[in-house]
């Protein structure tokens, strides 16, 4: 029972981070129907940015949040204007393999620069401390990560739903042509969508750096989790991404506890597979 509760708690906390990672993917997919395979690599770059600033300036990893968020925003915008803009004109195959190419490029660039080693940040306000609540142990870093993830999620949700920018983004998502007749600069909106997607995953990367190690091929793992989350929630649905993120966290931790840690990632993929076979539109899709 205690094992169960601690798995649930840690699963929910991780789930909030997964939701934030998936949010970026959902925004990009929602606005222009393109899947960003390089999303996990954005996370990796966010993590490296956080790692380098934290160790280079010897500051707390939490303070590196704006750096990695900003960097990933710029990265997202740049990859839109330099690559994705042209990909959108081509067929499906080109769109898919184009972002796939970006993913491999970034991954091996990181490999060439940083080498294949695992790196962690060792000092920080949250690192290494935990609340012991009877048999349940909650680490500060996971708790803090979860709280900030939810905050970031809420802010982006607010931007998407309540501001003029968000409305313009939604209009672009619904009908590009009609939106451009209404005087919306759709090109810019798409660029911003990529930037927002990048920023959300950059925040997630800086947070993850508090308790996880970074290495060049980390992206694949998280992008697959994000795909699974987005598919479970319904592609393009922000609310769905949040709930599905929590569910996915639960699946990973409960699966890791009861099925065996070596199979927990196979479980994610299996979940994804079952979802798309039996309910392709996801929980909240249409």
């Amino acid at each position: 029972m205690e094992m169960f509760i601690s798995a649930v708690v840690s699963g929910l906390l991780m789930g909030m981070l997964f939701a934030l990672v998936a949010l970026g993917l959902a925004i990009i997919f929602g606005v222009m129907n393109i899947v960003n395979f390089a999303h996990g690599e954005f996370l990796m770059i966010g993590m490296y940015a956080a790692f380098l600033t934290a160790t280079g300036l010897s500051i707390d990893p939490l303070l590196t949040l704006p750096v990695s968020a900003g960097l990933c925003f710029v990265l997202g915008v740049c990859s839109y204007y330099a690559l994705v803009k042209y990909l959108l004109k081509g067929p499906m195959l080109a769109q898919l393999l184009g972002t796939f190419g970006l993913m491999i490029f970034l991954r091996y660039l990181a490999m060439a620069i940083f080498g294949p080693d695992y790196k962690t940040v060792e000092h920080g306000v949250l690192i290494g401390k935990s609340i012991n609540w009877g048999p349940i142990v909650i680490s500060y870093s996971k708790l803090g990560t979860a709280v900030i993830s939810v905050l970031a999620f809420i802010i982006i949700f607010w931007i998407m739903n309540k501001t003029r920018l968000g409305m313009a983004l939604k209009a672009t998502a619904l009908d590009v042509e009609a939106a451009s007749y209404m005087g919306i600069d759709t090109e810019k909106m798409r660029g911003i969508a990529w930037g927002l997607g990048g920023a959300s995953v950059g925040i997630a990367g800086a947070l993850l750096m508090n308790f996880y190690y970074v290495f060049p091929t980390i992206g694949m793992l998280f992008v697959m989790i994000a795909f699974a989350v987005v598919a479970l929630g319904g592609f393009g649905s922000i609310k769905g991404a949040f709930i599905a993120g929590l569910l996915m966290g639960l699946i990973i931790d409960l699966g890791g506890t009861y099925v065996g840690p070596q199979h927990k990632f196979a479980l994610i993929y299996l979940t994804y597979f079952l979802v798309i076979v039996f309910r392709p539109q996801g929980l909240f899709g249409w």
């Binding site: 499906m92 195959l93 190419g101 491999i104 091996y108 196979a266 994804y272 392709p280």
Partner: protein, 330 residues
């Protein structure tokens, strides 16, 4: 009979293409005489294997426009079947290969049956997912060697039954025969009903369906054929390298390589995969050999992912598309 005639006649191709094809065949035929036992020959054999994979993938990915990124699992299944039967029960190559190919094909069929309910991006991600599941299973499954892989026992004398030869030249000719068979098959395929149906699906799925094409069934068929090609390549891989592990035959990177290679060469054209393999495999091997010493990892991957991005953005039909464009201008 008609199919055989179609497969053997290259009459509808322009004369330049026919000459290039003949030159390619002669080149492959003569190659081992000049380079026996060298690094170049090893690269050549790898090139032929990748031609086989690429020609197969081109069917579903190029002609059909369905981005299936899971070739590696078919390669792996056949390779593992051959290796495992050889190690555990001494089954000859010629019995285990058909079995392995059948397993790979059945897997393709079952998977395709379910996954082709999805379209576009959803399909692509689903195939990645499935291949990652297989990859995880194979890494953690001790019966088949887990992450350590399987080593095939060496026979004392060169042995045709187990496909063990002293000289790589035999392997070269065997791979060459497979590729030649694949090219003839593709030559039949592009003129066949299935070929036209697939291209119609690629161009406009709804329209194809309204013309009475059973799109689901056609896609599944094409996917199975792709599985056969990959399976044959995998079986060959197992006996040629005498060693397989989940990272060399089951890995997602292999699937990605195959897709990117075909994309660079020109997806949906007859010669695209061969052109792609011709560029990427030597680049990969020679760059790897050249840079391996200096310790820079993955420069080869960076170069061809950059190529893929440029090609995807400016000329989605790949190098073959560029050639066609130049030809039309003239």
């Amino acid at each position: 009979m008609r199919a055989l005639k179609d497969a053997l006649s290259f009459g509808d191709l322009p004369i330049v293409e026919r000459i290039c094809f003949a030159a390619f065949i002669i080149f492959c035929f003569v190659f081992p005489w000049v380079t026996e036992g060298s690094f170049a020959q090893a690269v050549m054999i790898q090139f032929l294997v990748f031609c086989l994979y690429g020609l197969g993938w081109n069917l579903i990915g190029g002609y059909g426009g369905q981005v299936a990124l899971g070739q590696a699992k078919n390669v792996g299944m056949a390779a593992y079947t051959v290796a495992l039967l050889n190690v555990r029960w001494d089954v000859p190559f010629w019995f285990s290969t058909p079995l392995g190919v059948i397993i790979a094909t059945v897997e393709s069929f079952v998977l395709g049956y379910f996954l082709f309910r999805l379209k576009g991006h959803y399909f692509a991600i689903a195939t990645i997912c499935v291949s990652l599941v297989w990859q995880q299973l194979f890494i953690n499954w001790d019966f088949i060697g887990g992450a350590r892989g399987i080593e095939l026992p060496l026979r004392e004398t060169p042995n045709f039954v187990y496909m063990q030869f002293a000289s790589p030249t035999y392997y070269h000719y065997f791979a060459f025969l497979l590729v030649l068979g694949a090219i003839l098959f593709m030559n039949w395929f592009r003129k066949s009903k299935l070929g036209y149906q697939l291209r119609a699906i690629n161009a406009n799925e709804d329209l194809a369906e309204s013309l009475g094409i059973s799109i689901h069934w056609v896609k599944v068929k094409a996917y199975c054929i792709t599985g056969i090609f990959a399976g044959m390549g995998g079986a060959f891989y197992a006996v040629y390298y005498n060693y397989i592990d989940p990272f060399s035959v089951m890995h997602l990177e292999l699937s990605v390589m195959i897709a990117l290679m075909t994309m660079i060469g020109g997806a949906g054209s007859m010669w695209g995969p061969i052109i792609g393999a011709m560029i990427l495999i030597p680049l990969d091997r020679y760059l790897g050999a050249w840079l391996g010493g200096s310790g820079i990892v993955g420069v080869d991957f960076m170069i061809y992912s950059a190529m893929v991005m440029v090609i995807a953005a400016y000329e989605p039909r790949g190098i073959w598309g560029i050639i066609e464009k130049a030809r039309r201008k003239r």
